[in-house]
């Protein structure tokens, strides 16, 4: 079978000693930053971009992917032990995970999360292995109008389902698109918004923006909080769940794997949405929903499984369509561009070594993560003692030296510092830098697809209605926007009536 030949090629790449080392480095860093305060996967990948620049393309992507799915495992640890979610997708895990810790069941909570994550991750990689070649054949036929629709949908979902305010996120996405227009026009070559500065002709550097907004901005912000290191007093025992625990959570893990996989493939999917959806599903299916929030093991197993499955299947739109569906994957997309590789439908044909090597490395990475997260979990818990001040200071030095080393030019240090201050102000005023960076990456692809659509359709917007994919997406968007507008108005009206009633009652 073809898939097995492909996987064979993939494993021959992934088992090269250097690549094995980088999978390992990636998943260890991923688990560690999931535990450490102040650094998330996005910031970490931003910090490491200049270093990956010097690496072989396959190794670089293998390592960065490892950081991404590794952080999904690591983020669980602090959610369960301290009720501090290590990354956004683990917020749901705090509901029942921390309750289990209070009942002295921290061990099984962490154990079932690691096992669920492994199963969810592996199911998604198997899905990726068999579906990717089929989808790539379909993807070649996807026209520019559909691309426009998919990207618009992705941006809408990221802005509306994110944690911040929707309007602020939309505003940031628009600013990201605007920043991406700086530089030469891709067709006519005219300089746009360069203000006569020659080094802006090539546009803003993605690395500088990402390192500034996520790296420096996030570090400045984390230094502002005077949190002291948390002492772990919980003893972790019986990390291997009992037979009853397995019986209770097997259904949740199976459902979480499927649900996570499907949600991850959608634009804007991956992470938070899938874990929330899985929690809601388990609670609805439970015979006794009141157990949820009081230490139900299914409430930990399902969401943890789903978030790992979705963060893996989110690689499908990235590797096959060339559209990153969330901010972390946008960073990976940037890393690939730095290496001179444009992800898209032809990647699987042009660079099978990268495509299958990365997929095969995920099988290996997940096995490593189970070992790191079950027998070796004690080591990572010790990392909670590292103080934010020390970590942030050294990370800052990595940013400064790292950005200098890209072009050996102090000018880049200034750019990073300026974007860092912007990033800090954005966090302080509640503007999420995530949509900005995602839109900055999508901007050039979106503009190209838009202009191609206009050329094909002879300047008519009708193409977005006649193209079936785009018609479906824009139709669904219009319906959901109308629906949310109406339901919001209804809620406002209801609230007004309610306050009038209460005023009258006085």
């Amino acid at each position: 079978m073809d898939a097995f030949n492909n996987l064979g090629l993939g494993f021959s790449v992934a088992f090269e000693p250097m690549n094995l080392l980088f999978v390992f480095v990636g998943v260890v860093i991923g688990t560690a930053i999931g535990v450490l305060p102040g650094l998330g996967p996005t910031a970490t990948i931003a910090l490491l971009l200049p270093i990956t620049y010097t690496m072989d393309a396959t190794s670089a992507v293998i390592m960065l992917a490892g950081i991404y799915y590794g952080s999904m495992y690591g983020g669980t640890i602090t959610s369960v032990l301290l009720r501090i979610p290590g990354e956004a997708a683990s917020v749901v895990t705090t509901f029942d995970g921390y309750q289990m810790t209070k009942q002295g069941r921290a061990g099984p909570a962490l154990g079932i999360s690691a096992i669920g994550s492994f199963i969810g991750g592996t199911v998604a990689i198997i899905g990726l292995t068999f579906l990717a070649p089929l989808l790539a054949q379909v993807a070649v036929a996807v026209g520019p109008a559909s691309y426009v629709a998919i990207m618009v949908l992705g941006l809408f979902l990221v802005t509306s389902l994110g944690t911040g305010s929707t309007m602020k996120s939309l505003c940031m996405a628009a600013i990201g698109l605007l920043l991406s227009t700086v530089g030469q026009d891709p067709i006519t070559g005219t300089a746009r918004f360069t203000f006569g500065i020659p080094s802006l002709l090539g546009g803003f550097d993605f690395v500088a923006i990402a390192m500034g907004l996520f790296g420096v901005g996030q570090l400045l912000h984390s230094l502002e909080r005077t949190e002291k290191a948390q002492a772990i007093t919980t003893k972790i025992k019986n990390i291997w769940p009992s037979r009853k625990d397995f019986r209770d959570s097997s259904g949740a893990i199976a459902r979480g794997s499927l649900l996570g996989f499907v949600i991850g493939v959608l634009p804007g999917g991956g992470g938070v949405i899938s874990s929330l959806a899985s929690y809601a599903l388990e609670k609805r299916r439970a015979k006794d929903p009141s157990r949820f929030g009081k230490g139900a093991i299914e409430g930990v197993a399902g969401p943890e499984t789903a978030n790992n499955a979705s963060s893996t299947s989110a690689f499908i739109p990235l590797l096959i369509l060339g559209i990153p569906s969330n901010v972390v994957l946008a960073m990976l997309y940037g890393a690939l561009l730095l290496q001179g590789i444009t992800p898209g439908p032809s990647l699987i044909e042009d660079r099978p070594d990268i495509f299958w090597g990365v997929i095969a490395s995920m099988y290996i990475g997940n096995v490593m993560l189970v070992i790191l997260n079950i027998p070796l979990i004690g080591i990572f818990i010790q990392m909670l003692r590292v103080r934010t001040g020390i970590l942030a200071t050294f990370a800052l030095m990595v940013v400064m030296v790292g950005v200098y080393s890209i072009n050996n030019n102090p000018f880049d240090m200034w750019v990073v510092l300026i974007f860092g201050v912007f990033g800090w102000i954005m966090i302080k005023t509640g503007f999420d830098p995530g949509p900005l960076v995602l839109a900055f990456i999508l901007g050039p692809i979106l503009e190209r697809s838009f202009r191609q659509s206009m050329l094909i359709s002879d300047g008519s917007f009708g193409i977005f209605v006649t193209d079936p994919i785009s018609a479906t997406i824009f139709g669904a968007l219009a319906v959901s926007l109308t629906y949310s507008f109406i339901s919001r108005r209804r809620r406002v009206k209801a609230a007004q009536t309610l306050s009038r009633v209460s005023v009258d009652a006085k």
């Binding site: 305060p37 650094l39 998330g40 996967p41 996005t42 910031a43 979610p85 290590g86 956004a88 683990s90 917020v91 994110g162 944690t163 911040g164 305010s165 309007m167 505003c171 628009a174 600013i175 698109l177 605007l178 227009t181 026009d185 067709i187 005219t190 746009r192 918004f193 400045l220 912000h221 230094l223 502002e224 001040g389 020390i390 942030a392 200071t393 050294f394 030095m397 400064m400 030296v401 200098y404 080393s405 050996n408 102090p410 240090m413 200034w414 510092l417 102000i425 966090i427 302080k428 509640g430 503007f431 999420d432 830098p433 995530g434 901007g443 838009f450 206009m454 050329l455 300047g459 008519s460």
Partner: protein, 175 residues
């Protein structure tokens, strides 16, 4: 911890400014700046030349995008979203000093090379923002500078500007 998480945690807490009506202007500051940027970009795009829909000029796409920026910023100016705003604390003022120290670092870096400014920056940050003891701060700053210098300049071969300390040491050994 990722930025999303921090925000999610803050949303869960009651917004500290929700009741402070007289500070409303504060929340409009960023949207107004963004709105001005949007308007400037609309004019800039117009000047670039829009072309035709069948044959778009360089300004057409930027115009679409800058209109989007203006609309979103205008909505935020009229109805400011005050939820996730954070308080300006004493530590915030301290951090402005931190940013200035980075400015000094970059200036010194171009003039004196890596070793001296790196040591000073690490020391300052560990002592002031990390609130570590002098002893630990000095040790970590000294060790950290050495590790960074060896890692980047020696192992990775990054050409730092001429270094007064490392340069002197190399000359002394060379003599």
């Amino acid at each position: 911890m990722s930025e999303d998480t921090l925000e999610a945690v803050q949303v869960a807490e009651p917004a500290p400014f929700a009741t402070a009506g007289r500070y409303q202007g504060r929340f409009r500051l960023v949207p107004v700046v963004l709105l001005a940027t949007g308007f400037a970009a609309v004019i800039g795009s117009w000047r670039l030349g829009l072309g035709e829909l069948t044959n778009p000029g360089p300004g057409l796409w930027p115009l679409v995008v800058s209109i989007a920026v203006s609309i979103a910023a205008a909505i935020l100016t009229v109805i400011p979203d005050i939820e996730a705003y954070e308080k300006w604390t004493r530590r915030t003022t301290l951090l402005v000093g931190g940013v200035l120290s980075l400015v000094v670092f970059i200036l010194l870096f171009t003039a004196l090379g890596f070793v001296v400014p790196a040591f000073l920056l690490l020391l300052l940050w560990l002592r002031v923002f990390g609130e570590e003891s002098w002893r630990l701060a000095l040790t970590l700053a000294g060790g950290g500078t050495a590790v960074f210098y060896v890692g980047f300049a020696v192992l990775l071969g990054v050409p730092f500007p001429d270094d007064i300390v490392a340069g002197t040491i190399t000359r002394l050994i060379g003599m």
